[in-house]
Subunit: 205 residues, 4 copies
Amino acid sequence: MTDPSTPPPKVPDASRRSERSRRAILDAALELVGESGFAKLTIEAIAARAGVGKQTIYRWWPSKAAVLFEACVPEGIDPASIELPDTGDIVADLKTVLRATVDDLNDARLDAPTRALTAETANDPELGRALTEKVLEPQLQAYVRRLRAAQEAGQVDPDIDLRIALELLVGPLFHRWQTRTLPLTHAYADTVVDLALRGMTPRPS
Amino acid sequence: MTDPSTPPPKVPDASRRSERSRRAILDAALELVGESGFAKLTIEAIAARAGVGKQTIYRWWPSKAAVLFEACVPEGIDPASIELPDTGDIVADLKTVLRATVDDLNDARLDAPTRALTAETANDPELGRALTEKVLEPQLQAYVRRLRAAQEAGQVDPDIDLRIALELLVGPLFHRWQTRTLPLTHAYADTVVDLALRGMTPRPS
Amino acid sequence: MTDPSTPPPKVPDASRRSERSRRAILDAALELVGESGFAKLTIEAIAARAGVGKQTIYRWWPSKAAVLFEACVPEGIDPASIELPDTGDIVADLKTVLRATVDDLNDARLDAPTRALTAETANDPELGRALTEKVLEPQLQAYVRRLRAAQEAGQVDPDIDLRIALELLVGPLFHRWQTRTLPLTHAYADTVVDLALRGMTPRPS
Amino acid sequence: MTDPSTPPPKVPDASRRSERSRRAILDAALELVGESGFAKLTIEAIAARAGVGKQTIYRWWPSKAAVLFEACVPEGIDPASIELPDTGDIVADLKTVLRATVDDLNDARLDAPTRALTAETANDPELGRALTEKVLEPQLQAYVRRLRAAQEAGQVDPDIDLRIALELLVGPLFHRWQTRTLPLTHAYADTVVDLALRGMTPRPS
DNA sequence: ACGTAATCGAGACGGTACGTCAGGTCTTTGT
DNA sequence: ACAAAGACCTGACGTACCGTCTCGATTACGT
């Protein structure tokens, strides 16, 4: 028996949803956030640019952050499928990955929406949870898997907490990106990997 | 010779400023951000709570972020005066400091405004610059000074880039705080210090 | 030769029309206008109450006023069949009729929809025309016929313009109903008839 | 002791009201209702035409009907000051007045807003009351006063209920105007007066 | 001691965007 | 083929704040 005091929230029928409108909305959101930033992004502007009624946005998304989230993170990609390269050389592999991350963070097209979403998590915990679960954790877990392989290959001290090890790698990059204190470069990525890994080498027994 | 097309921006006379109003505004801003978060913080609400006209806020601050910034970071503290402890034991000293940082980040009173300001830097570069310059860099420079002392004492490899070394310490903490992936604990701070420092010990030549 | 630029207006096939739906719609409209008034009457609400798709209403009626009109004025009654009583005593007959009119206007069930339709004629001239032609004029013509009979019977001055005579009778009632200035009573109807008829008695030549 | 559950409705300070805005709003409302009718009259359109924020309308008027009401009925006219002419000849005086009324009702500038306001009273009883009290009743009372003078002068039967007598005069005009059945002319006004007054002449005792 | 000039509380103003609602059209899915 | 259902685009609603402006009423100097 359901609660009679709160009538059903009228969930719309997803099977009748217009894919044309959905795509137009997501594209418009990405365009607009690139042009003017998240603060000036409004639902009305998205609707106008997409040639869509506002209600069509409110029907399917709870906030402009949710729209942007879906625009940035296309659903349907399997989180478990994310895998770091494994050439057998943990240091080289991590440098490859962190250099790619640096390139992504320096990409102007990705920078604006990513910063916007990250910032919005401060006001919107629900968004934060979604972002962590759908995007961040899958990537971090890939790091953990790669580090575990290195551990098993004897390249990393077996006593190390891999979760913290990973944070030693990505934390510094994230910190520089977030604070804009100094530029993010490949050389920086390399140095972080070298320094972090030096502390993880197996101790001579 | 000044531009005649733009009349003087009417800088108000700071000497006549009402300290009562200033304090009331800052206090009201802090209260409100604690109660409802930054998103629901409005200039009108601050003015109403402080018993102040809106213009009194607009006269002295350019944005609600600037108000909050001043509320959180009382001016008049000398950035150069920030100093990390130096007992001679770099590991112990860093653990002391990072534990204190963990405590601060876990303090509910500081959490909301700090997150709000951090998030707002994504939309307000001017605020970001101020935060970096007045708050962040002074602290980071204190780390650099303490690490340099350790280097000179032979506890840290002289080849290490201290700026990056510092980021290996604070980056992980900042990352956890920002992403809320796992709890921030003293044990975590200790492990980060241990792991980071292991990579910085002088190499046996 | 038809205009090729305007395609046929797609007149639906009336023979396949669902009588069930038609009745449900008309009943729902009457119910709703009684419950909440014309202003809050919406096509959506009628459709929902009638268990009918909105399109089924739009297919057959041009506006909510048209629905209400058909609900109030069942088609198929012969306008010429309306007849005032004729006992030979014009004063008594008019009092009978105006008292009945007063009763109708005081009937709460009829009041709301009638007022709504009357008011809507200000915005919807088409509706006004329909109302006049189908409802109002047939009744007024009945008055004219009855007054003419009285004229021929020597009870009314032959020089009188009967159209205006009739308006002297119904105008005051309509005015009071519309303006709600004073209550509509049988006594009022009687006085109006007495007063109006006094001016119409054949002059002593 | 006042009700603590309902905070004061924040009545705005009338002394600071902008007369410029007020006039612009009333003018815009009159223009728009003349152009497109009351149904298509929107607060947004009024605000746009008047070059005014919507809130400035909502601050001072409860509905678009109230705006139109004030636009049509400039406040500050003393209801008691309305007086019908008194040349001593009641028939001639009434014809003068009703002819003027006919002219007003045929004036296109007054027609649209007057019809709109009249129609709106069906949905908005508060408006109806205001209209009756501020506009209608003062005029009707003037009729009553003039008829009473005629009564005292021996031109009207002392037994007549003057309130009903007045309705016999204005009711027919109102009815024709409202139903648009036949044109409103001076000749019509004259005939109504003649017919109605014939029934009011003093009976030969 | 007194003008006078600036700040102050207050809040009306022209605006922008909000999130909701209803209108009327179009499309999909039975029956 | 028509009816139900309901998603869609449109546009107005009434509200919340924005940042600017104007209004007396305090202040706090500089004569």
